[in-house]
Symmetry: C2
Subunit: 207 residues, 2 copies
């Protein structure tokens, strides 16, 4: 809870299969009353798998709610009580048949902070072994594509990649693996040395 | 609708003040049945305002649903039938007191494509004039900060910026205004010349 705010009441106004809708009556730090309605759901994960040739694994999938076929990093919802990094490994294997020697966090982000109490955990996976996927029946239309990271960045800018988690994972990975620019020296963080060094093979990406 | 899919029924299972929850029974392209529950809401906007010194306008705001004070690009929901670019200009003025000579789209993205039928439109605003904000009562706790773009990029990587739209707007702007790397020459799109040229003053950003 934010300092100075109090929740006067919290009511479940709809309980669905994968989300709950709540309406809370609150008092803000300045004493004013407010009503907030929002969904609650398990956290999600999305994992950018970067291979030794600097290519990114993207799955094309029909997404009913959008009415579109989207290009996505593998991902999905955490199982109840599942660690997000474990969920990332599970989704990567299920959707793309990929096992990763290394999974490192990119960030955890709020997708709809005013309307949905759920975060998306983003990971970078390297040291990949590609095998058979284990898709669910509802995922039968998925197709796996390998795209150079620089091309994926261009796809974020020109509207071919439009899903928030995939956008953020691609652009954060591009930042991590970019050759440091002079002005980066004055940035706070990341504390780790050259982040690209832990990725494994950024030097093999075509430049 | 996606090719080959049909919606058998669509039922409103909850109607809230700012969102509607629907449950749809569908038949997928392969003939299998599916049930999808999701929220519908107006589209949102978020606008990255970049000043002549290469600094980004970020507002700090208590966000009840997350239980956190977040750093955000100005933004919010479109009014009914409001053009997203107009909503971006309105929010920029209301929340930060900023008028922009130029507003150009960065992208439109799906924040929760499996659970929410709503997009977020991201804009880059330049040619700024800073005046008085016109915040609503519920926004009284907002504070405006000006942060160098390179620092905002670092904040996306280290967890100080965690809102999806702000992350994407900062990182897409950094990509647009970066000096082109050799490999960018082979990328498809963006079709416009050097996008940085339309931004106005990228050369003044500290490098």
């Amino acid at each position: 809870m934010i300092e100075g705010w109090t929740t006067q009441s919290s009511t479940v106004v709809h309980r669905g299969r994968r989300m709950t809708v709540r309406r809370d009556e609150v008092r803000r730090a300045d004493g004013s009353p407010g009503t907030y309605e929002y969904t609650e759901a398990v956290d999600g994960v999305r994992v950018l798998a970067l291979d030794g040739r600097g290519r990114v694994a993207l799955v094309a999938e029909d997404v009913y709610v959008c009415g579109l076929r989207l290009l996505l990093c593998p991902g999905g919802g955490c199982d109840p009580a599942e660690d997000p990094a474990a969920a990332a490994r599970r989704e990567l294997l299920e959707e793309a048949g990929i096992r990763a020697a290394r999974i490192e966090p990119l960030t955890a982000m709020w997708r709809m902070p005013a309307g949905a109490r759920t975060r998306e955990h983003l990971y970078l996976a390297t040291g990949l072994t590609v095998g058979e996927h284990r898709r669910e029946a509802s995922e039968a239309d998925m197709e796996l594509h390998w795209v150079p990271l620089a091309e994926a960045v261009a796809m974020c800018a020109d509207g071919r990649i439009t899903e928030a988690g995939t956008l953020a994972a691609v652009l954060l990975t591009a930042q991590r693996t970019a050759r440091p620019l002079p002005h980066r020296a004055t940035d706070r963080a990341p504390a780790s040395p050259a982040p690209g060094a832990t990725v494994g093979e950024p030097g093999t990406e075509p430049r």
